[in-house]
Each structure stands twice: as structure tokens, then as C-alpha cells.
């Protein structure tokens, strides 16, 4: 086993040296160096001078406000450009087959991955270094504590490594450099913008710590408080945003987790480090053998387990009324929202775990080619089938473990909500509380069977035609009829997505944003027909898989 020091010793890493030579050739790098210097100097100068000369803002505060645009520039260079280059460079090496040369050398897979991880974006790191004089100006002139600077840039670089590692994992899988480039850029945007703003609003606040923003919120934002330098303006009666509104995106707040609150700094470091380890494991597996799955089945199961703990830990704080999601519905009073939460939290959990399971299934379900190879190999070794944890194994028992993990999390959450009294208003309504977990379990089995039988390409087509199209048709029909009737809900119920939503609806009497009273009957019919469709589809896929298996054997 090599030590961490050996592993991270870039001076002795041949792959890193390769990129140091090729990426930093003066003729190639000079354009980027000049562009960085010119743009950064211009942004810093114009921002500082306009604030001090025109807005009469004190120099110390003006210097502090420069930090944010500087971070944006540094982020664009290292997080965005660096990530894109890492993914496209790796895909290119794979297509050129030069990756194969490197695979055959005695350099260990992890050292190779480290070489690519730090070598491919080396131009971006040197461009970042060119912004350091500007940062020094901000820190010195703005009188910013060095501890704060250290915290922010520690998370910045962990974030950079996380995104670049994502790019390495993407690059090991993609077959065209342009797709690797675009997908990795999209990942950065997704992890920085889409997840924090959407998922955290649904109670899954831990997902916002995949970006650098919470630490900026914790460390940088307080420095921008101008009240330290100038007296506050007189309070007006109708300000458009109050303090609560600012909490809509709660960057910088402590992280609620079960009974504890964690510092965003440490939570971000922990979460991103765990993901870096996961992505490195994925990359190393693909490095060892291109045909290997990115994740082994036990590792995928572990990821699901950790996700469920994190999701439950975050939703727990909503249940115990320590934090409040669903700002989108306007209410600020948690008691007014109790029925919305009673419906919404299990639904959020169900959808989030289902999406993750789909991703994990896509990683661990073998192709038919792999499955046949596993069977032939097993037969050669006098076994009936591949070992359960092998990549080539179809392994339905593993799928049942996924379902069991997901349902245990669901019932823990549901039980806690019941204990907290959220479900008391359901008493006497006849609402079948078992329906959503049943549909949830069925959807998980169905999704697995779908991937197993139709494989990834067929599943994508099914998502379009069976999951989305019925919902769109139902929406158009609703717009045409201007009412929600059983016709639309039955059409929509062909989609498991709609079936999950309709299964979590209340039966009667409860008018809520989820559940307008006039549409109760239609939704109930939709939920039941959806469940029947789901059972029928799952049974069909199961039968088809048995047929296929016999044919493949």
C-alpha cells in the first residue's frame, strides 16, 4: 500500500509532469495568462475605484466587496474551465488509446488518477495563481482575517477537487470529449445552482453543501456588512424583503442534522471529501478495467444508506420544527403548514430516494452482454450463476436490499412524523397510509426491472414515452376541459411519477396546495389505477426478464 504522501507527491508523478509540460508551454498559455491578468485587474480596479470615488464607500469596505467578484473569476477559472478541461482531456486520452499505455505501467491506478486530477487543470491552477496579487490587495486593504481567507480557500480547493474528480469520473465513462466537457460543466452548474436552490427548499438542505456558497455565506457575507462602516439607513415601513425572506436561501446558517447543528465549513468539507472518495473509487474501478461498473453493488448500497441517513437527518429537523422548508408556498407559520408537511415530506423523501436509486441502478445493472459473460464464466467454473456481488450478476436479491433500505428510511421518517403529531389530522379520514410506501416499493422494483430488461437506452425511451408523455397529455386534457376529471388522472396514472404523487394525496375534505377539494375523487381513481398499472408493468417486466434469461442462458 502506498502512503498518502507518496500518492500526493506530484513531483514524482509522471502523469502530472506530462501535463505540466504540455499545458504550460508559453505559446499555449500566454493567451490565458494575459486574459486572466487583464480581466482580473480591470474588474478589481473598476470596482474598487467606482466604490471609493463615486459611492464614497470607505476603502476598507470597498476592498472587502472586491472579494466576491474575485471569487467569481477564480471560480470560473478553476471550477468551470478546469472541470471542463479535465473531462475533455481524459476522454481524448481514452479515445486516442494513450490511456491504455498508462494503464499498463506499474504506476498504481490511484496515482494515475491523482496525476490526471491535478495535471489536466494545471493551466487553470496557474491562472488562479495570477489572481493572487489581487487577492493579497483585498486581504491587506480590506483587513480580512487570514483565518477567514484560509477557511474559504480550503473549501474552494476541496470543491475544485470534487468537481475535477467528477470530471475524471465522467471522462472515464463518456465516449466523446464534447459530451464529457458539456456534462461536467452541467454538473458544476447543477451542484452549485440547481441543487442548492431547489433541493434545500424541499428540506434536503445537505445538498446545498455540495457547492462553495454556504461557506461564502458563513465566512464572506458577514464581511460585507456595511453597517460596520456607515450608519444604517432609516427604517421604512414597507421594505420588500424582510429577514425571513433572506432566509429563503439559507447559505451560511448552521446545518441542522437530527438533534445537532453543524458548522457549514466542517459539513461542507466532510460531505465533499466523502464524495471525492466515492468518485475516486469510481475512477479507479474504471481505470483498472474499462468494462467494470463505476460502482460495485455493495458500494452503491452504501451510498444509498448514507443518503438516507443524511436525508432523514435533515428532514428530522423539519419534523421537530427547527427548520422550515417549502417557502415556495408562502406561509411562514409551521403550524399552518403541518398538513402540507405531512404530505410533502414523505413525498420529498420518496422522490429523492427514487432518483438516487435510478442513478445507482444505472450503475450496477449489468448489460445483457455482461450478464451472458457472467453466466458463461460461472458455468465454466461449475457454478450456476455469477457471484451476487459481481458486476455481471443480475442479482435481484441486491435490488430487494435497495428496496428494504429505502422503506426502512421511509418508515423511520413517517414514524417520527406520527410521534410529532403531524398525522393526527388524518384520523377518521380513511386515508390509506400504506399506499405511498407500497407504491414507493413497487416503483423501486419496477425501475430495477426496467433497466434490467430494457437496458439504459430502452429505459430512457420509457421515461420519455411512459413517464412523461402521459403527464403531458393529461395536462393538455385538463387545459382543454378546464377541470381535473378521472379521464386525466387515469391517463396520467400510466406514469409512475404521477402515481407516486397521486398516492400521497389526501382522500377528502382537505384543501391544500397539493389537494384542491373538487378534484379529490379524480385523484383517488388515478392513484388506484396507477397502482394497478404499476403492478401490471412490473409483472410484465418480470415475466419478460425470465424469458430473456432463459434465452440468454
Amino acid at each position: 500500500m502506498q502512503s498518502a504522501a507518496q500518492l500526493l507527491n506530484l513531483r514524482d508523478n509522471p502523469v502530472f509532469h506530462r501535463f505540466r509540460r504540455s499545458q504550460l508551454r508559453t505559446r499555449k498559455a500566454i493567451f490565458w495568462y494575459l486574459a486572466t491578468l487583464i480581466i482580473t485587474t480591470f474588474v478589481v480596479s473598476i470596482t474598487y475605484l467606482s466604490q471609493t470615488n463615486f459611492a464614497q464607500i470607505p476603502g476598507e469596505f470597498a476592498a472587502r466587496t472586491l472579494w466576491m467578484p474575485l471569487l467569481v473569476i477564480q471560480g470560473l477559472i478553476v471550477l468551470l474551465k478546469g472541470t471542463g478541461r479535465t473531462a475533455s482531456g481524459l476522454v481524448q486520452d481514452k479515445l486516442d488509446q494513450t490511456l491504455d499505455y498508462q494503464r499498463l505501467t506499474p504506476v498504481t491506478p490511484l496515482r494515475n488518477v491523482v496525476g490526471y486530477l491535478f495535471g489536466l487543470p494545471i493551466l487553470e491552477y496557474t491562472m488562479f495563481a495570477l489572481t493572487l496579487p489581487h487577492l493579497a490587495f483585498v486581504v491587506v486593504k480590506g483587513n480580512i482575517p487570514l483565518g477567514t481567507v484560509f477557511s474559504v480557500y480550503l473549501v474552494f480547493f476541496v470543491c475544485a477537487i470534487f468537481y475535477h474528480m467528477t470530471a475524471v469520473a465522467v471522462g472515464m465513462v463518456m465516449k466523446r470529449w464534447i459530451w464529457g466537457y458539456l456534462l461536467s460543466i452541467f454538473s458544476v452548474a447543477f451542484l452549485n445552482l440547481i441543487l442548492p436552490t431547489l433541493a434545500s427548499q424541499l428540506g434536503l438542505r445537505f445538498l446545498q453543501y455540495l457547492s462553495i456558497f454556504p461557506v461564502i455565506g458563513q465566512e464572506v457575507a458577514p464581511l460585507m456588512n456595511m453597517q460596520q462602516f456607515v450608519p444604517p439607513p432609516p427604517q421604512t415601513s414597507a421594505t420588500p424583503f424582510n429577514e425571513n425572506d433572506m432566509a429563503f436561501l439559507s447559505f451560511g446558517d448552521p446545518v441542522p442534522f437530527f438533534e445537532w447543528t453543524l458548522s457549514p465549513f466542517w459539513f461542507t468539507l466532510l460531505l465533499q471529501s466523502a464524495l471525492i472518495v466515492t468518485l475516486a473509487t469510481m475512477a479507479v474501478r474504471r481505470w483498472q478495467k474499462e468494462t467494470k461498473h463505476s460502482l460495485s453493488k455493495p458500494y452503491a448500497l452504501g451510498i444509498l444508506g448514507v443518503f438516507i441517513v443524511l436525508a432523514t437527518g435533515n428532514l428530522w429537523t423539519v419534523i421537530t420544527r427547527e427548520s422550515l422548508p417549502f417557502m415556495l408556498f408562502g406561509s411562514r407559520d409551521i403550524d399552518q403548514l403541518s398538513d402540507v408537511l405531512a404530505i410533502g415530506l414523505p413525498m420529498v423523501y420518496t422522490m429523492a430516494v427514487w432518483l438516487l436509486c435510478l442513478f445507482l441502478y444505472a450503475n450496477v445493472v449489468p448489460t445483457h452482454h455482461d450478464y451472458v459473460r457472467g453466466v458463461r464464466r460461472a458455468n465454466k467454473l461449475d457454478r450456476a450463476a455469477a457471484r451476487p456481488w459481481d458486476d455481471d450478476s443480475a442479482n435481484l436479491p441486491f435490488m430487494m436490499l435497495f428496496v428494504a433500505f429505502a422503506l426502512v428510511g421511509y418508515f423511520v421518517l413517517y414514524g417520527t412524523m406520527s410521534d410529532a403529531g403531524y398525522m393526527s389530522f388524518l384520523e377518521g379520514t380513511g386515508f390509506p397510509q400504506w399506499r405511498l410506501p407500497l407504491v414507493f416499493g413497487l416503483v423501486l422494483v419496477y425501475s430495477f426491472m426496467l433497466l434490467q430488461v430494457l437496458q439504459q437506452r430502452g429505459t430512457v425511451l420509457t421515461v420519455l414515452l411512459v413517464w412523461l408523455l402521459p403527464i403531458l397529455v393529461a395536462i393538455v386534457a385538463s387545459a382543454a376541459i378546464q377541470d381535473l376529471t378521472p379521464l386525466q388522472t387515469v391517463i396520467a396514472s400510466l406514469s409512475p411519477l404521477a402515481t407516486i404523487v397521486m398516492s400521497g394525496m389526501l382522500p377528502s375534505g382537505h384543501v391544500s396546495p397539493f389537494n384542491p377539494g373538487s378534484e379529490i375523487a379524480a385523484l383517488r381513481i388515478g392513484a388506484w389505477t396507477g397502482m394497478v398499472f404499476l403492478i401490471a408493468q412490473t409483472a410484465f417486466l418480470w415475466w419478460r426478464w425470465r424469458q430473456l434469461r432463459e434465452k440468454l442462458h
Binding site: V15, R18, R373
Partner: protein, 312 residues
Amino acid sequence: MEHAPALTIDNLRVDYGDFTAVEDLSLTLGPGEIFGLVGPNGAGKTSTIRVLANLLEPTYGEVRILGHDLFEEPEAALEKLGYMPDLAPVIPDLKVWEFLDLYAHSYGYHGSEKRDRVDWCLGRVKLADKRDVFGKALSRGMTQRVVLAKTLLHDPKLLLLDEPASGMDPIARRDMRLILQELAARGASIVVSSHILSELSDMCTSVGIMHNGKLLRSGSMASTLESIQAETAIIRIELIEAVESAQTRLESDDRIDEISVEGSRISFRFRGDKNDQSELLRVLVRENFRLVSFSIRESGIESVLMSLIESE
């Protein structure tokens, strides 16, 4: 492990879905042996070589390199393995010496030892004057030579060369042949694939002929060629009369094809060994065909290969 064969393949099978690229291939290669793997495109040569380089997972089978199980202890097995792929690429934005330096470093050479090794290999493939040229500026043949230099860097004991001569000019091919023969003389074993048998015939000590994933024949170069040639020969007979009835008679024999008639002479391809040839002559004489001559012409290497593949 010192006396272990350089390469042992046992029962190797490679599938791509329903298509079987390599079927139950078994082979043993001794030290100093140059083994030519020959067959038409799609025969399974590249799949075999990629499995031996641990770049492709077989359906099943065992591969031992210098006594080490390739799938159980890949690091030890690959340590002394050199691999040159078909249409071998170089890294376009590295200079030739930088490209070799990268792999010399990867194979554990440092400092002056690394520089010496790079220089030696460049000299060996006669590219010392191209050391500062970028990979993207090299011709196809030069690229092949640079990759060959890379393959020689760590003094491998087993070399896998997939169509190494493609793109090389005749002089470079001769140089490559000399290099490989010199390496073999020093104890290295070499597997070299090609779809052109004549390219291998003056270099290899043994040969295997692959078709549709199966190893049809293997053995020493001379004996394999001889046995195939003995089995597939072009026979020419000359008759005084009854040429047409002789042609009809020959057409009825399923060991004979490609019959051509020129005046009183008939040429045809005959599949069978010396005994069969003798028997054919006896039958023709017994059936009162008045023969003036019966001559056997040995087939060229490529036609031997073609006839063997077609007969399979």
C-alpha cells in the same frame, strides 16, 4: 517463476454479446520465441492481444505471463510486458523525448538513467534526430517507431505487437525485424500479429493461424507452413488426349477446385497430403488417362493461408 513459460494461455474465450471473438484458445510460448499471430481482419487477433495486455476482460480462460496469473496478480504480470497497439498513437502535444520520458518515468527510471534509457531507445529506432519533434508532426511510420521505442523502454520480457508494421516503409520494417530478432536472441518472447503472413514468415519462429476466433493451426513457422503447403497444392497435369473427360473427372473430386484448362494442360488446387497426391496420380493412370506430366507446385504463403481459411 524463472523457468516458467513466457506466456501460457489456457481455454481463452472472448464474447461481444452474441458474437464470439475468441473461442477456447490455448497456447504456450517459450523464452526467445517470436510467435506470429496471423489471420484475416476480424479473426480475433486484436481481441486476443488486448486480453493479454489486460485491457479486455475475457469471458473466461487463464493467462499466465512469466508464471504470474494475469487476472489474479496483474501488477506482477504486466511489469515485464510491452504492448504496441494497432495504429499506435503518440501524445500529440508532447515532443518525442517528452513522450518517452513520461513512460520511462512511469516504469521507474529516474535522473540520468532515465535520460540514457530514452536516448538508447531513440537511437535503437533511429529517431535520435527527431527527439524535439512534436507527436502531431510525425508521419505514420515514425509514429510506429516512436511507439516501438516506448515499448522497449523497460526492457520487456514479453512483447505484444498488434500489426506493428502497418505504415512503416520497407527500411523501417527491416529495422524493426532486426530489433525484434535481437530482443528474442536476448531471451524476450514476442507475439506479433498481422494479416499478412509473408510479413511474419521471415521473422517469426512460430506461427498461429486464426480465423473466426479459432486457432486453426499453430507450431513452428517452417513445419506449419510445410504442413499447410503439403495439404494444399497446385497440381498441373498434361495429357495427350481426352482433356475434357479428364476435367470432368477432376471436377467430381471434392478435394479439387480452381480448375483451369490451357490446351492439353490442366491446373487445379488440390487439398490433401503427399499420399493423397500419389493416390490421385494412381487413379488417373488406372482410369486410362494418358498423362505426359504430373507436377506439384508449392503455393505462395498468402494463397496457403487463404486456402486454409477457405477450407475451414
